[in-house]
């Protein structure tokens, strides 16, 4: 009756509930520290129980476990190093960098899944989820890197784009991306995925490049929401509830936070979404 998948999914549910409580507590001054703790413990639980799932599945090779060990060690070391070493004034760009990596991770998971799909498994829903995950994840990755570069005041990211009509260009890119995702979903073919990555890379740049440095916190909040949606899409790819719940939680609450930050800075969310913010330093609000 109680096979490993059922146990794991019940534990995932516990983790998801802890994420919800953690996020809610994080929004209030008195409970914020505890909220972050609860959320981090939930993440640990999710990771441990996933390792148990791999163990119970029994198909993992020693090389697979080795790769997991290597990945967690390298990633953990880099994460700790950055979190401890970076100066307080550089926090926003660090968040942008972390956010980009999260989006990138979703893309790689979707890619790995795409590689392993048989023709019978390439059903419209799975292919749609892979396409969307690749699309949103890539935009998040490059968009966040541009945000990082702008806040770090790297010259390359300060220059205007050599595109005559960025709005029209973005619209065309967007349509092309949707068509590519549709082709993947309807035909079950994998090759459009590479083009999606390519076009989404361009879109990540063209969406964030024209936006001024003063508006970056709002942009990062929005990209944070995107990385949540990318994780949720990945959840549909691998049919995993904890990814779907946590991802959509971050996706939705991220939009609300973006809106709150916009209000604090006297901006409108519509202008952020369509990238029509005034370039350069606008009036900074009560934020920061």
């Amino acid at each position: 009756m109680l096979d490993s998948h059922i146990i794991v999914n019940l534990v995932y549910l516990v983790a998801a509930v802890m994420f919800i409580f953690g996020l809610k507590m994080l929004a209030h001054p008195r409970t914020a520290v505890r909220g972050n703790m609860i959320s981090s413990i939930a993440m640990l639980i999710a990771v441990v129980v996933t390792a148990y799932l791999v163990f119970a599945d029994g198909n993992a090779t020693w090389a697979g476990w080795l790769l997991i060990g290597i990945g967690l060690t390298i990633g953990g070391a880099i994460g700790v190093f950055l979190a401890v070493k970076v100066e307080m004034t550089q926090m926003p760009q660090l968040v942008a960098l972390f956010n980009g990596l999260g989006g990138g991770a979703s893309v790689f998971v979707a890619s790995a899944e795409l590689l392993g799909l048989t023709d019978a498994e390439a059903t419209p829903d799975v292919m749609l989820a892979i396409g969307i995950s690749g699309l949103i994840g890539t935009v998040t990755f490059w968009g966040s890197l541009v945000a990082f570069g702008k806040l770090q005041e790297i010259d390359l990211f300060e220059k205007p784009l050599p595109i005559p009509a960025p709005q029209a260009f973005n619209a065309v890119l967007g349509v092309v991306l949707l068509v590519l995702v549709a082709i993947m979903a309807t035909t079950g073919m994998g090759w459009p995925f590479l083009l999606i990555i390519l076009c989404a890379t361009a879109l990540g740049f063209t969406l964030v490049m024209p936006i001024g440095g003063a508006d970056m916190p709002v942009v990062i909040a929005l990209l944070n929401s995107y990385s949540g949606l990318a994780a949720a899409a990945t959840g549909f790819v691998i049919d995993n509830n904890v990814l779907i719940i946590s991802g959509s939680l971050v996706g939705a609450s991220g939009i609300i936070l973006t809106q709150i930050m916009c209000k604090a800075m006297n901006r409108s969310l519509v202008n952020v979404l369509f990238g029509t913010m005034q370039p350069g330093g606008g009036p900074a609000g009560s934020d920061d």
Partner: protein, 97 residues
């Protein structure tokens, strides 16, 4: 009743939509000092793709899939570990004031 792949998909979509609504409701008033920590903390949660990364690394279809999984683990772990630690650092700074 006959359970198919589509039954599971509808269940997943149901979970997705309900979680979206929770996400919309969960955040209401946030004091400006908590904007950045909240962004950072929820960003760490989006590193949940680490779960997918672990699965596709260990159970990947071939060595290339496992390699992509490894890259995903590294990126997601930086996101998760760094994200939570930085959030904690920001919050403890506010508490000292």
């Amino acid at each position: 009743p006959k359970y198919t792949k589509w039954t599971a998909l509808v269940a997943s979509i149901t979970i997705f939509v309900l979680a979206i609504f929770i996400g919309f409701e969960i955040i209401t008033k946030v004091p400006p000092t908590l904007h950045t920590p909240l962004m950072s903390g929820s960003n760490a949660i989006s590193g949940i793709s680490i779960v997918g990364a672990l699965l596709s690394t260990a159970l990947g279809a071939n060595w290339f899939a496992s390699l992509l999984g490894l890259l995903a683990i590294i990126m997601a772990t930086v996101n998760v570990v760094g994200g939570y630690m930085v959030t904690h650092r920001m919050l403890s700074m506010f508490q000292k004031r």
